[in-house]
Amino acid sequence: MTETLTGDAPVSRAAALPRHPPGDLAIWVFILAELLAFGVFFAVYAVTRMKNAALFDAMQPNLDRNAGAINTVLLLAGSWCVARSVDSIARDARPASVRWLGAAIACGGGFLVVKVFEYAAKFAAGINLATNDFYMFYLSLTFFHFMHVILGMAILIAVWIKARAGGYSAADHRGMETGAAYWHMVDLVWIILFPLVYVMR
């Protein structure tokens, strides 16, 4: 109990492995795999842009930067809400924890809605994967991320349902930390995606 009050994770007695961040070790292995996949995607985008800088710079102003920025804020807010939810449960403030989770899910839902409108505008303009290299990357990279937001939402909703049922406590909220870690990963990736695809020129 003292550990959570001072903000430190309980020290594992099995010191054979380096102390991993809060959440199941399995989710952290999965997060590393996800970061690797996104990392490769970002690197390929960067190298393709290097070879076609004129095309990328000509196409990029057509993107909806306002939608991109709003979505950045929604993901940051969702991440913040989840962090506050975990902090609340660590203090056994269960109703607050459930409310923060609900707010995080709302932020994720907002992201999806904004993105759907963004895609709809692009498709209405006749843009698709075959339009050119820039749009191929814009659509595939953001849609790859979009699917991760959906998975993150599914995880958060499952955690929210269990939290509402009183399934977490200050002493035991590993499951919530596990879901939170995945959600933060989705945010972390977008923090690179937004400047890279929407702003850098």
Binding site: G7, F42, L76, R84, I192
Partner: protein
């Protein structure tokens, strides 16, 4: 029950979030003004580095994990941003 330390964590999370939103505003402004070139790109990639670092340390709570975990995740962030910066720079020449 002494809850002061954890309330401190909540305030810390709020401050991190406020900074993240402010930094996003700067990146948005760079885009809106159509700023191009190495200085603008250094600024937005630098902000992405700081934002990513804060999310890793404060939200994902890597600050409670071992040095090795911090090196791996922060190393990913630095490697990706360095790759982006390098390819941008090479495209200028």
């Amino acid at each position: 029950m002494n809850v002061t330390p954890t309330r401190g964590i909540a305030r810390r999370l709020d401050l991190v979030f406020a900074f993240l939103v402010a930094a996003t505003g700067v990146t948005w402004l760079v885009g809106e003004t159509g700023s191009a070139g190495p200085a603008a790109v250094a600024l937005i990639l630098g902000l992405a580095l700081v934002k990513g670092w804060l999310v890793i340390r404060e939200f994902m709570l890597l600050r409670r994990a071992s040095l090795l975990w911090n090196l791996v995740v922060a190393g990913w962030l630095v490697l990706i941003l360095a790759t982006i910066a390098l390819t941008y720079w090479k495209a200028l020449r």
